[in-house]
Amino acid sequence: MSEHGKDAAKASKTVEAESRAQGLGIGWTVFSYMIAGMIAYGAIGWLIGRVVHVSLLFPIGMLAGIAISTGYVIYHYGRPGSVERNDR
C-alpha cells in the first residue's frame, strides 16, 4: 500500500473509532435520561400523591418523567446536526 493509502486507511480508522465512542456515549446518556426522568418525576408524583392521598400520581409522575426525557432527548440529539453540536 502506498504512503497516501496508509494515511487514508489510518484516518478512516480514526473516524470509525471516534464515531463508535460518540455513539456509545450518546446511547448510554439517552438511556440514563430515560431512567432519570422516570425516577425523578415518579418520586415527585409519589410524594405529592402521599400528601393528597392520590396514589395514581405515582405512575402518572413516572409517565410524565418518561415523556419529559423523551422530549428533551429529541430536542438535544434528534435534530439534524445536533450530534455534532452536542459532541462530547
Partner: protein, 276 residues
C-alpha cells in the same frame, strides 16, 4: 441462611449437582445465587477471604507483572514482551482514549490502560479452568472501580469549570426558564446517580448473567448424561457450553471496552463543558 448457602457453594460442578442425573429421581440442580457465594479460604477476625477476592488480587498482580516485565528495560528495538505491551497500550490509546479525549487526554492513558486490562483479565477468569469465576459478577468488586471513575470526573469537572460553572454547564443553554425548572431534576439525577449506577450495573449484570448461563449449560450437560435418549440433549447442551464460552469471550472484551470508553467520555465531558 447465609451459612447454609455457603455450605452449598464453592464445590466442584459434579458435587453441586450431587451426582444427580436424569432418572435418579432427583430434580435438576438449578444454579442460582448460591453459585456466587463461596466458602472462605481463610478468616481473619470477621473478615472472610474468598475465591473472588483471591481472583481479583491475582488479576491485579498479573496486570502489574505483565506491564512491569514488558517495560522493565525498554529498548529501541523491542523484544516480544515489550512489543506486546506497546501493542496493548496503543490499542487502548487509539481505540478508547484518543477518540473521546484527543491528544490532551494522554495524561489519563495509564489510568485507562490499567482499568481496561484489570477488568478484562478479571472477566476472562470465568473461562479459565480452576478459577471459573468472574470477580465482576459480584457487584462489590465493581463499585470501587465506579467510585474511582465517578470521583475523578467530578474532581476534574470542579477543577476545570469551577463549582458554579460545573452545575451551570450541566444545564443546556438557550432553553426557556419554565422548561429549565422541569429539566433540572432529570439532569441532576442523571448526572449524579443514574450515570455512575448504569456504568457499574451494566458490567456486573453482564458478568453475572454470563456466569449463570455457563453454569446452567454445564450442569445440564452433566445432568442429562445418561445412557438414554437424554444423551442427545446432553450433547446439545455441551454444544451450547461451547457457544456460550465463545460468546462470553466476546462479552468479556466488550464489557471492559465499554466501561473504559464511557470512562473516557465522562472525563472528556468534565474537561470540555462545550459538550453540554
Amino acid at each position: 441462611m447465609i451459612g447454609s448457602v455457603r455450605a452449598v457453594a464453592a464445590v466442584p460442578l459434579a458435587e453441586t449437582s450431587g451426582g444427580c442425573h436424569l432418572g435418579n429421581g432427583c430434580g435438576f440442580p438449578a444454579p442460582g445465587l448460591q453459585n456466587f457465594d463461596f466458602k472462605p479460604i481463610f478468616t481473619v477476625g470477621s473478615f472472610d477471604f474468598t475465591k473472588p477476592e483471591f481472583i481479583a488480587i491475582l488479576c491485579a498482580l498479573g496486570v502489574i507483572a505483565f506491564f512491569g516485565i514488558a517495560f522493565r528495560k525498554p529498548k529501541r528495538i523491542p523484544g516480544v514482551m515489550q512489543s506486546l505491551g506497546e501493542m496493548a497500550i496503543l490499542q487502548v490509546r487509539d481505540q478508547i482514549l484518543r477518540p473521546s479525549l484527543g491528544r490532551r487526554g494522554d495524561a489519563y492513558l495509564p489510568f485507562l490502560v490499567s482499568l481496561f486490562f484489570y477488568i478484562f483479565v478479571c472477566n476472562l477468569m470465568e473461562l479459565i479452568p480452576f478459577f471459573q469465576f468472574p470477580s465482576m459478577s459480584r457487584i462489590g468488586f465493581v463499585w470501587p472501580l465506579v467510585f474511582m471513575v465517578y470521583f475523578l470526573y467530578l474532581y476534574l469537572g470542579f477543577k476545570t469549570q469551577g463549582g458554579w460553572g460545573y452545575f451551570k454547564n450541566m444545564i443546556p443553554s438557550g432553553v426557556p426558564w419554565p422548561i429549565l425548572i422541569i429539566l433540572v431534576p432529570v439532569e441532576v439525577l442523571r448526572f449524579f446517580v443514574v450515570q455512575p449506577f448504569t456504568l457499574g450495573v451494566r458490567l456486573f449484570a453482564n458478568m453475572f448473567a454470563g456466569h449463570l448461563l455457563l453454569t446452567i449449560f454445564m450442569l445440564a450437560t452433566w445432568y442429562l448424561m445418561t445412557w438414554s435418549y437424554a444423551l442427545l440433549f446432553s450433547a446439545g447442551s455441551a454444544l451450547m457450553v461451547l457457544f456460550v464460552f465463545l460468546l462470553e469471550l466476546l462479552v468479556d472484551l466488550l464489557q471492559a471496552f465499554i466501561f473504559t470508553t464511557l470512562t473516557a467520555t465522562y472525563i472528556a465531558s468534565s474537561l470540555d463543558p462545550a459538550g453540554h
